[in-house]
Amino acid sequence: MTTIPLEHVLILASILFIIGFVGVIVRKNTLFMLMSLEVMLNAVGVAFIGAGSVWQAADGQVMFILILTLAAAEVAVGLALLVRMQHCFKSLDIDCLNQLKG
C-alpha cells in the first residue's frame, strides 16, 4: 500500500478550502453559497482524515463524523432559511439581506 504524504493531503485540503471560500465570497445566490460551505467543510474533513491516517489515530475519523453531523444540521437550517428567504424576497440574492448595515 502506497502511503500518501501528509503534505499532499494538506495541499488538497487547502485547495478545496480556498475553492469553497472563493465560492462563498463571489456567488450571490445563497444556494450556491451553502454548497460552497459544504466544500469548505469537506476540505477540513479531508485534512482530519489525512492527519489521522498518518498518525494512525482514530481521532481524525471521529472528527470527520462530527463534521458530517454538523454539516447535516447546517444544511437543514440553511435550507429552511432559504425557503423563508424565497418566500419573503422572491429571490435568493444574498445581498437582499443587508438590513443590518451600520
Binding site: M33, I94, N98, K101, G102
Partner: protein, 629 residues
C-alpha cells in the same frame, strides 16, 4: 428691622417695572419708581435719626447666611470656616452714604420722571435706575467685603446698562462697553485683593478685618502693602482716577439723569467709600496712602486741564467730577478721612444740581450740548442760570457754600499730613485755581454774551422739575452746615497724622483767595466770551480746534490715544493673527480623527454578508501570518 427692608423698596419696584415694561403707563411707572425712592429716603432718615440712640451708634441686621468659606491656611488655626452673611451694617459712615444715595437719588428720580417722560422705554429706564439704587445700597450697607463686591458689580452693571440706554446709536454702545471693560480692570485687582485678604486673615467681615489687621500686622508690613494696593486698584477703576479714568467722559453718552446719579453723585464715589471703609487697613500702609494722595493729586490736575479745553457741557462736568473725586482721594491719602467723606456728600449735592440744571438747559435747547453754540442764556433761562451759578459757586468753593467747607477741610489737612505734604498742597491749590477758571469759562460761554443758539428755546415749566432742582440748590448751599461725626469710625488710625507746629500762617489765606484769583483771571482772559459777537466766538472755537495743546487737552491729555495704541491695537492685532484659534484647531483635529474612524468603521458595517466573510478571511490571514512570522 427697618434697615433690612431698605434695599427692598427699589428692588420690588424694579421687578414690577421690568416685568410689566410698556404695559405700565407713565403715571404708574413713575408712581412705582419714585414712590419706592420716596419710601427709601424716608426710611433712611428715620434710620439716621435712630442711629444716635442705638448702642455704640451702630445698627446691624442679619438677613440670612449666604455661604461659608473654608480655610486652608495653617496660620489662622482658630477659625476653620468663615460665614459670608447677607447682613447690613449701619454706622455714621454708611449713614451718610445712604442719605446721599437715597436722598439725592430720590431727587434725581423725580427729575428723571419729567426729563424722560417722552422716551418710549421709560419704564425700562426707571427700572434700571431703581436697580442701581438697590446695588448702591447693598454696596454701602454691606457688613462684609463679598456683599460689598456684589453691590460693586451691581452698580457697574447698571452703569453699563444706562450708558448704553439709547442703544440704537453705536457711539453710546461703545461708550458703555468702554466703561464696563475699563472698570473691570480695577474690579479684577479688587477681587485679587479680597482673595489675599481672606488668605491671610481668614475673614471678610469688615469689622473683624479691621481689628484683626491692626492686631496681626505691624505698620508697613508687606501684606498690608499689597492688599491695600489691590484695593486701591479697585477704587481707582470705579472712581475714574488715573490711570483708569478714560471711561468717565465717554460715559456722558447716557441720559443726563444717569450722568447726575451714577457718574457724579453716587457710583463714582464708591471707590472713596471703599478706602474710607477700609481705613484701618490703609493706615497700616503709609506708602499706599501716599500713592492714594498722588493718584488724587495728579488726577485732579489732569482732569482740570482737560475740562479747560472741552466744548461739550456734559464732558466739562464729567472732568470736573473726576477732579473733585481727585480731591477726595487726596484727602483720603492724607488721612483726612472725615473731610473726604464730607466732600463726597457736598459734591453729591452740587454736582447733581449742576448736571440736572445742565440737563434742563440741554432740554430747552433741543439736545444741543456744544457750549460754543449756546451763549446768553442768562436772559432766556434766568431760573436755570441762577441754579447753575449756585452749583458753580459750590464747585469753586466760594466761602459760605458747602463746597467751601468740605474742600477747605481737605486742603487744610494736606500740608502737615505725613503722607501728603507741601507738594500735594500746592497741587490742590493749583487744582482749585483751574477749577474756578474752567467754571467761569463754562458760565461765560453758556450764560453770558450774545445768544448763538438759533432755534426756539423751550424751557420746561414743570413745577416738579423745578422743585427737585431748588431742593438740590438749597442742599448745596447749606450742606456745609450738616455736622458729621465720624470720631467713632476713624479713631483707629495708628499713625499720628499731623506733625503740627510747622504750618505757615498764610496757608488758609491762600486757599481761600485762590478761587477769587481764578475768577479774576478768567474775567480778564475770557473777555471775548462775555462781550464778543457770535461770529467772533465761532472763529475762536474753530481756531481752538486746530491748536495742538488745546486738542491735546481736549482728548484727555492723550490717555485714550496711549491706551488705544499700547493696549487695544496690539490686542486686536494678536486676536486677528489668532483668528482661527490655535487651541481650537487642536481640538478640532482630534474631532476630525475620531470622525474619520467613525466613517471607516460604519462603512464596514454595510450589511453585506459576503463582505463580512471576506473580512473574516482577511483577519484569519493576518492572525496566522503574524503567528507564523
Amino acid at each position: 428691622m427697618l434697615l433690612a427692608v431698605l434695599p427692598f423698596y427699589p428692588l420690588i419696584s424694579f421687578l414690577l417695572l421690568i416685568l410689566f415694561k410698556k404695559r405700565l403707563s407713565w403715571a404708574q411707572a413713575s408712581f412705582l419708581s419714585v414712590g419706592a425712592m420716596f419710601l427709601c429716603t424716608l426710611t433712611s432718615f428715620i434710620l439716621v435719626f435712630s442711629l444716635d440712640s442705638a448702642p455704640d451708634n451702630v445698627i446691624s441686621v442679619h438677613l440670612w447666611q449666604w455661604f461659608t468659606l473654608g480655610l486652608s491656611v495653617p496660620s489662622a488655626s482658630s477659625a476653620t470656616e468663615s460665614a459670608i452673611n447677607f447682613a447690613f451694617y449701619l454706622d455714621a459712615l454708611s449713614a451718610v452714604m445712604i442719605c446721599v444715595v437715597s436722598g439725592v437719588g430720590f431727587l434725581i428720580h423725580f427729575f428723571a420722571m419729567i426729563y424722560m417722560k417722552d422716551d418710549e422705554n421709560y419704564s425700562r429706564f426707571m427700572a434700571y435706575m431703581n436697580l442701581f439704587i438697590v446695588a448702591m445700597l447693598i454696596l454701602v450697607l454691606a457688613d462684609n467685603l463679598v456683599l460689598l463686591y456684589l453691590g460693586w458689580e451691581g452698580v457697574g452693571l447698571c452703569s453699563f446698562l444706562l450708558i448704553g440706554f439709547w442703544y440704537q446709536e453705536k457711539e453710546n454702545v461703545l461708550a458703555a462697553r468702554k466703561a464696563f471693560i475699563v472698570t473691570r480692570v480695577g474690579d479684577t485687582a479688587m477681587a485679587i485683593g479680597l482673595f489675599m485678604l481672606f488668605n491671610s486673615l481668614g475673614s471678610l467681615n469688615i469689622q473683624e478685618l479691621s481689628s484683626l489687621a491692626t492686631m496681626q500686622w505691624s505698620i508697613e508690613s508687606e501684606q498690608a502693602y499689597w492688599i491695600c494696593l489691590m484695593l486701591l486698584g479697585g477704587a481707582v477703576g470705579k472712581s475714574a482716577q488715573l490711570p483708569l479714568q478714560t471711561w468717565l467722559p465717554d460715559a456722558m453718552a447716557g441720559p443726563t439723569p444717569v450722568s447726575a446719579l451714577i457718574h457724579a453723585a453716587t457710583m463714582v464715589t464708591a471707590g472713596v467709600y471703599l478706602i474710607a471703609r477700609m481705613n484701618a487697613l490703609f493706615s497700616l500702609s503709609p506708602e499706599v496712602m501716599n500713592y492714594v494722595a498722588w493718584v488724587g493729586g495728579s488726577t485732579l490736575l489732569l482732569a482740570g486741564f482737560a475740562a479747560l479745553a472741552q466744548s461739550d457741557i456734559k464732558r466739562i462736568l464729567a472732568y470736573s467730577t473726576m477732579s473733585q473725586i481727585g480731591y477726595m482721594m487726596l484727602g483720603l491719602g492724607a488721612g483726612a478721612w472725615s473731610a473726604s467723606i464730607f466732600h463726597l456728600m457736598t459734591h453729591a449735592f452740587f454736582k447733581a444740581l449742576l448736571f440736572l440744571t445742565a440737563g434742563a438747559v440741554i432740554y430747552a435747547l433741543h439736545h444741543q450740548q456744544n457750549i460754543f453754540k449756546m451763549g446768553g442764556m442768562a436772559k432766556k433761562l434766568p431760573f436755570e442760570t441762577s441754579l447753575f451759578a449756585i452749583g458753580l459757586l459750590c464747585l469753586m468753593a466760594i466761602p459760605g457754600t458747602s463746597g467751601f467747607f468740605s474742600k477747605e477741610a481737605i486742603i487744610g489737612e494736606l500740608w502737615s499730613s505725613s503722607t501728603a505734604g507741601a507738594a500735594l498742597w500746592w497741587c490742590a491749590i493749583f487744582g482749585a485755581l483751574i477749577t474756578s477758571i474752567y467754571s467761569c469759562r463754562l458760565f461765560f460761554l453758556v450764560f453770558l454774551g450774545n445768544t448763538r443758539f438759533t432755534g426756539a428755546i423751550e424751557s420746561s415749566q414743570s413745577k416738579r422739575l423745578k422743585g427737585a432742582l431748588i431742593t438740590l440748590a438749597v442742599l448745596s448751599l447749606i450742606g456745609g452746615f450738616i455736622a458729621l461725626d465720624f470720631n467713632t469710625i476713624f479713631n483707629s488710625s495708628v499713625i499720628a497724622w499731623s506733625d503740627s507746629g510747622q504750618e505757615p500762617s498764610w496757608l488758609h489765606t491762600v486757599a481761600i483767595a485762590t478761587p477769587f484769583v481764578g475768577i479774576l483771571i478768567s474775567w480778564l482772559y475770557f473777555k471775548v466770551y462775555r462781550v464778543a459777537l457770535p461770529e467772533e466766538v465761532a472763529r475762536l472755537a474753530e481756531k481752538s480746534e486746530t491748536h495742538f495743546i488745546i486738542r491735546f487737552c481736549r482728548n484727555g491729555l492723550g490717555f485714550d490715544w496711549l491706551y488705544s495704541n499700547v493696549i487695544v491695537t496690539p490686542f486686536t492685532f494678536i486676536a486677528k493673527l489668532n483668528k482661527r484659534d490655535v487651541v481650537d484647531q487642536i481640538l478640532m483635529g482630534t474631532a476630525w480623527y475620531v470622525t474619520l474612524w467613525r466613517d471607516v468603521l460604519s462603512a464596514s458595517q454595510n450589511g453585506l454578508i459576503r463582505w463580512y466573510a471576506a473580512g473574516f478571511a482577511f483577519g484569519l490571514v493576518v492572525i496566522v501570518g503574524a503567528w507564523l512570522l
